[in-house]
Symmetry: D3
Subunit: 161 residues, 6 copies
């Protein structure tokens, strides 16, 4: 942790860092997060996914579109031509928790961690939105980067939790 915050110059002013000299390489970011809800809410989401009222399907679309809006939302992010976005949801009935995992990829000069994290956040927010009429107390937790590939810093994996 000897390196400083790259988003500030020597005078402490924010800037969008220069990535023009970086190589265009394949870069992958994988992030996850979860939303915990009341058992009854969870049951409604679960039945909807199989039959009708497809909360998960809508959250997936919102997450994919959210990934594309990352540079609009995060001030110092570079606009990135994403080459792939996938979003998965795992339902844990025992914990009445839904875990969202997003993978973003590009062939470019800077990483796509933020795109993966933004997809997760928007996916979870969309679940919250669709279920909030029955359950305002849902909580989103453990939103974090799982893995990063490509670029000078190479492969990084989160510690197991």
């Amino acid at each position: 942790m000897t390196q400083g915050f790259t988003h500030f110059d020597a005078d402490g002013q924010a800037h969008m860092v220069d990535v023009g000299a970086k190589a265009e390489t394949r870069r992958i970011g994988i992030a996850e997060g979860r939303i915990t809800m009341a058992p009854e809410t969870f049951a409604m989401v679960q039945s909807g996914s199989a039959k009708k009222g497809d909360v998960i399907g809508i959250a997936r679309i919102a997450a994919i579109q959210g990934a594309k809006r990352t540079a609009d939302l995060i001030p110092l992010c570079h606009p990135i031509p994403l080459t792939r976005v996938t979003v998965d949801f795992a339902l844990d009935a025992a914990a009445h928790t839904i875990t969202c995992t997003a993978t973003a990829e590009t062939v470019g000069r800077t990483g796509v961690e933020m795109e993966a994290l933004t997809a997760v956040q928007v996916g979870l927010l969309t679940i919250y939105d669709m279920c909030k009429a029955v359950d305002r107390g849902m909580t989103m937790d453990s939103i974090r980067l799982l893995e990063k590939q490509g670029g000078k810093s190479g492969h990084w994996r989160a510690d197991a939790t």
Copy 2:
């Protein structure tokens, strides 16, 4: 929890629910969430806020702008003319955690819970983005609605945790 998911019609199809007959009342949503980081990262953010490299100031602006993008991001949200957005950050040195609290208000026909939650998510994501060069393992947790005022459902407060 007798009420169903309002975002689906009788056939289970998603729609943007009809709020045309609702009264225009003052509505408030308050949400919070936190990001936990390595102690060294926290120290860098803390010193920057006082002097230069103002991570918190930038995250605040991003959060406010994020609130305005809510209806773009969340598929079934109504576009809402926000009348107020405030975003605060509390730094907890012992836990090396930053808590973001956002308040959104409108005078309108539907609530602003999602605007407050979106502000929190974008605020936390912006902190992540600016610190990720030194700390990829930061985690965002406990993102939830704290309070809601206005509208037919009245005043709601999260349980103390």
Copy 3:
């Protein structure tokens, strides 16, 4: 047809027309359009809607979000706080055609015909996008306003076709 194009002033210059003196009334726009595809493509969409690969569900979400982007897309449209958007799809197996019908509502100073039409166009485009790998020859037709309520011009219905 004695009235001129309202989007131009006396000198022929485009402007966003003044609706400030109009009353805030409930306004409804209903539009429809259809996409015709090869029988095999239609069969794939139809089976997907029931089981997996939910083309229709995704097109509905895109259409709803598209309605919210109308003022971004159509230069002289006023930004409008939509109070309701619904989008339905009817599958006609004999004609291997999918018809999209969108309803937009607001309580405002100007109509929502363009929001309903934009929802239909984006809904049909999304179907095209998801099916184009197997069928590039799909055609979109009969996109038109069906009905309009509210405002000074009152109720209007398209002629039966």
Copy 4:
């Protein structure tokens, strides 16, 4: 038509397909569509184009801007750095119909058919918007891809109609 819908994975879940391994080649998409109006409306548009009240000129600008919004509107579209967009309008006085033809190009990893189609849709919608005060019964038809060049699938042309 042996190939399946590429926008869904083996489990039927939507994703933005991986184009990271595709070559960056020059890709062209050409689309068209038409709007039919009352003879009096057509006459007003036609005279405006020559003199003042330039409906066509405004529709062209909206169409070009619409092409740039494609990935915002169509959920599973990749963001694409367009290298060229042209939009033409042909006026057919006998049929009181305006045909919009759009060409989009990129040097990239995926095609630009959707960008061309979106340009056409937004161009036609803009004409509708500007003429709707005098003619609500206008209809948009025959919106389709005309031609596609570049990429693994090579050159494709629509059948003559």
Copy 5:
């Protein structure tokens, strides 16, 4: 000038100020600015406006659309349902200068000065963009608010210059 900066709270933190208690009144903002170019460039713009290559017509559309994007661009601006936007351009052949004047209106809780100013800026930038291939040295000057009506602060006019 006894009033402080309203965009900061007592601790100096930025916020979107609370306008929820303000009355909905008709509010008008008028702004102007000019771009000065080489005489040859001016002559090309001038001839284009009359005949073909309509720089001014395109800049007008961009300015109107720009007004609608104000809250996206200016961090602490409230989203505002504009009820009218007009943009005029005056060509001064002697000074080879084009002056853009924009008027924005709403019936709302906060003013539309920023919408008028943003329209002017985007209008001038669009002229610059379309002429830059022949003249990179164009300069934009005297961009300022001319007049403001409505709201508690009442009528304001710029001093004559």
Copy 6:
């Protein structure tokens, strides 16, 4: 100045010019502009930058985000994957003027002059917005391109003023 307006074709119709055959080279655009305010306003901004109420810090973030919105705002601009954006502000107490200088870079097929100019305009507008409660008479001047590097037309510098 023998070259014509490239944004129009031979018939005078606007288009997004074809840059597909241009080489991907490093391109830089540098622009500047200033805002002049009352001495008291200037003093408030100056003290805020050092202590609290950080007008300049917020304007910098808005300017960087504005650069990313250029292709959304300027109709015929190509979408460009920016590789760097920096924005600086110089405070001149004698003239009570703040000068904003923005640098944009890409590795691409077309220049980034418009991105640099848009950053400056949005930066100045944001200062105006935050100070307008105390000073509506601020004026923005001398917004112009300072320098351009890369591409076929090579290096260009504005004349000293």
